[in-house]
Amino acid sequence: MKKIIAILFLLVLSYGIYLSINSIPFGVSKTKVGNYYNLNGVKDTGANNIVTAVVLNYRGFDTLGEVTVLFLAVLGFSTILFTMKKKKSDNMPTPPSLILSIGCKFLFPFVLLFGIYIFIHGHLSPGGGFQGGAVIASAFLLFYLVKPSEKSSKKSFQLIESLSGMAFIVIGILGLVFGNYFLSNFLPKGIAGKLISAGIIPLIYIFIGIKVGSELTGIIDRLMGKNNEKQVK
């Protein structure tokens, strides 16, 4: 009965969505602001990747808000899990297979390097701080899979995360001091296409990459952390 009501409701809903979506043309240019970014983005910001230019230059303040949302979500996550009761149990986790442990030893530095490459080249090629941070966190996930008993230092991750978040804001305030407004691009823009160009964009993306990487690693660490506590006791 519940399923039939749900399906009927969704049918009505999808008909309504169809009526409104039908009037949106597909595959044509719609917004003026997107065109403006495409035509003038390189000249304005010095970044080859227009998406990065939008994220960090035109809408840098917005990105600061989004990073704050991410921080709050991770904070809430660790607050919920912090007061958890630690139950004692004797079952040891099964040790990883030979392939996994050798593969991790081989792959870990390369995955880390790839993540760093992605966020350093965020203003030139596809990628950026958020994606690079996720790749770095996946490297640590591999590490935790191999060594579940390894105690990581949660404190240092939190320290790195807070420092890089503060660095973002400090760069913004420096823009207020040297430029005209918060997060203004006060460094020289350089030649578009070179690694050192686009002013503060690569700097901010490096900090975002470190921040996202340490936040996601902290999430993985907390979710796998239950086993660690059991073993230590």
């Binding site: 519940k2 399923k3 749900a6 399906i7 409701f9 969704l10 809903l13 999808s14 969505i17 979506i21 949106i24 597909f26 595959g27 044509v28 240019s29 719609k30 917004t31 602001v33 997107g34 065109n35 970014y37 495409n38 035509l39 983005g41 390189v42 080859n48 990747n49 227009i50 998406v51 230019a53 939008v54 994220v55 809408r59 990105t63 989004e66 949302v69 991410l70 979500a73 991770v74 809430g76 996550f77 919920i80 899990l81 958890m84 009761k85 030139l124 090629s125 596809p126 950026g128 958020f130 994606q131 941070g133 996720a134 578009a192 996202v212 936040e215 996601l216 999430i219 907390r222 979710l223």
Partner: protein, 113 residues
């Protein structure tokens, strides 16, 4: 057009899961499906036929046929935030399971509204 159908198909499947299923993990999967459908819809709104990615990776690219960079920039951050909120929902599920010993929302009496 097929992108719109796919995006809203995902959203409607997610809503169906949220309405019908009682297991907390399945409900979280439904929320995640809605999230993915919404991201797909935003990206496909900015799509232009025969358009290229908005990146000047080599000289001679025409900026007039590049796709809209604005929805891509929004979705870029939305994906990472959705991962964090998903982790938060899972943490709540872990705590509920510890407290009640079940993930079935129908059996958790004092959580009903």
């Amino acid at each position: 057009m097929v992108y719109y159908i796919g995006a809203f198909g995902l959203i409607i499947i997610g809503l169906y899961v949220l309405m019908v299923k009682r297991n907390l993990i399945k409900m979280i999967i439904g929320i995640s499906l809605i999230n993915t459908g919404l991201n797909l819809f935003l990206i496909s709104v900015g799509f232009i036929k025969l358009g290229t990615a908005p990146i000047f990776s080599k000289p001679g690219l025409n900026p007039k046929i590049m796709v809209d960079p604005l929805p891509q920039a929004m979705v870029l951050t939305a994906i990472v935030i959705s991962v964090a909120t998903l982790a938060m929902a899972l943490a709540l599920a872990i705590r509920l399971y510890e407290h009640h010993g079940t993930l079935d929302m129908g059996k958790i009496k004092d959580q009903k509204w």
